[in-house]
Amino acid sequence: MKPRKTRNRQTTYQLQLWLMALPCILLVFLFNYVPMGGIILAFKDYSFSDGIFNSAWIGFDNFKFFFQSGVAWTLIYNTVFLNFLFIVSVTFFSILVALFLNEIFKWRIAKLFQSVLFFPHFISWIIVGYFSYSFLNADNGFLNVVLGYWGLAPVNWYASPEYWPLIMTVISIWKGLGYFSIIYLAGMVSINPELYEAARLDGGTKLDEMFRITLPMITPLIYINLFFALGRIFYANFDFFNNVVKNNGLIMSTTDVIDTYVMRSILVTGDFNMAAAVGLFQGVCGFILIVGSNWLVRRMDNENALF
């Protein structure tokens, strides 16, 4: 009698869970999966009169402009490399900041710091562009003025491609610090204080606490952030690059990314299918990367795999 009852109860619970997930499933299906049919446009020459399904199939034609450009490799490298720099440095610094905030959390001032750190997130990239220009420009930019005080020669930043990975990374950290440190802090704050008590009773130092308790408890969050970054590593943050780098040909060798190249092509040719094509490429690359890393993570640390 008992096994059947348990099995029925189990099924009830499973059903309840599916029911709870239903709203979200429907929303995602309708608004994300249904429009995915548009991906087919990557291979077509879309014309409204023919509609999506009857427009001419042109195979890989839409991909040609990108792969025959001679700079495809540079663009891919720039995109991936810069994104990698961004995510590694932002993660590192935001965990650090979250640890510090965690230390002083009992004081009201921690909440103030937390709020203040979040401010850069509110500033749109357009305004970040204005600020970075006023900071970096060679005519009367703040940075060159400061260098002058220290007796150093001014640099024409907007004409020196070699500095820009660093510049972009610094800006990225400044903008994302508040956002990500809140995520990690929320995790740290939820840690059962009893664990810390136990560690202290065992004679552990602060460093021990950090490495043995705090960090392991937020590891799942780190994994999620990294997975997301990995899946999107072939997509550059268009607003960021468009507003901070702008149309500056001189620094394009290190800052031109896939998305800005595609946007330029669309502006001149008016052909949006090119975006669909390259977008598909970016998605496929991200997909392979995710499936591969998920498999790796599953082997190492089953708990934290994405799926």
Partner: protein
Amino acid sequence: MKNLLAVLIIITFAVASFAQSVAGLPTIKFYFVATNATPDDVTLVQDKINSLVAKKVGANIELHPLSFSEITTKIPLLLKTGDDADIVTVSQFDPYISLYQTGGLLALDDLLPKVASNLYKLYDPIIWNAAKIKGRIYAVPSYSPSVSYPGIWTSKARLDKYKFDWSKVKKWEDYEPYFDAILANEPGVTPILSTDEYWGRIWFPNYYGFEGVGGVKSPKGQDLAVVDAVKGKSDVFAAPFTREYEANVTLMRKWFNKGYVKKNPPTEMEMNNLRSTGKMAAFLIPFAGEWDTTGMGQAEWGGAVIPQGKMAGHPTIRNISVGTGLAINKASKNPEQALKFIQESYTNSDVQNLLAWGIEGVHWQWKDKSKKIIAFVDGKTVENTGYYPNASDQFRTTINKLSYYRSEGDLLTDQRVADSIKSNSVVSPIFGFVPDMASVKTAMANVANVAAQYGDPLEKGLVDPQDPKIGLAVFRAKLKEAGIDTILAELQKQINAWKAENKK
């Protein structure tokens, strides 16, 4: 009780007589661009227009003004998805070719003579031909002859201060004394205006008598594939390979080194700031014209008086292309009525001026009725007058002179344009030719990016043309790699075919 009933009935009739639409007629939706258009005022204008011509057209018009910020996104989307829209505007924000490529424009050839013969007769065949893509007409062009000269916009006060006579200038070097004077006497002021987008260059095809074909350029640049229009030749070539281009970028570099331009061009917003406070002195442009600059001076130059500083000896190249106009959505359910409405706009003075300026007494009043000059209603300005599209070109052509004028200056413009055309213009050797770039889109995309990376910095003087890594030689090599020759060949092929067809 009976009195009350009577009153109610009268009120109902009164309300009904002000009713918005003439009952029983379909509605056509008109999407156009407007600076200022509050919903209530739009309804007023719409109702007035319908009361005048709804029966004649056979449909009620529904006005949908779009702001400049939305127009680039919305109209192509409407056309591409066959959405609910009947008439759409063609403008510099949504060029004719781009809208055609959405596949959403209706061909008007058959409808025009049948349904809108007055409109059809308004233009010579040559103008209709210029609106043809692959042999069919897809838009009603707003034909308004104008002129474009290379030149300078700078404040008259400064010109007078340094006693610089802009009318004597024939070449770019002739401006140098003016710029030197500014550098010497006004520290903190940059002589030449530049932005991170279009401006800060002196490479304009029309300076050399060249005319751009095919729109081959970086997104924020000037045409690179040109014909030598002033010499009347229709051979297409790539300007960066010419001696003229080399001389041009070398000169710009020299000017950069002298300090005429900022080392790093600012954004559009920051440039606006600098220009309106006089910290950027001169704007070098390819489109000095004949129109009244009072408004521009107030809006952009902090109120300064700005003459149209045209260079001497550079004729304007006359060509016809559909820059502005009106087109009909392929998915429209009432195309005939839509075309009839367009005809009303172009041939009916009342309708045209209602669309362009609003209602008399509400949005404007007469300043000089005999000359057809209008002004804002007392106490109203650009910001709070409810209806001010500021884009009257869409609704008209200047040939039949139906439109009212905003100022005395505007009235004189037409005459000045006519004089200019007579005295200093050349007819383009490819007058009316419309290229089809679809087959070379790969090369176009690659050339655009090469031009953005190497060409724009060269043209703005940010790079030394002799630089071994990013100079002119490298730019030329990259252009070839990107396939500029393919583009030139295709353009030439199309031009030759077009010439043969038109027996020029």
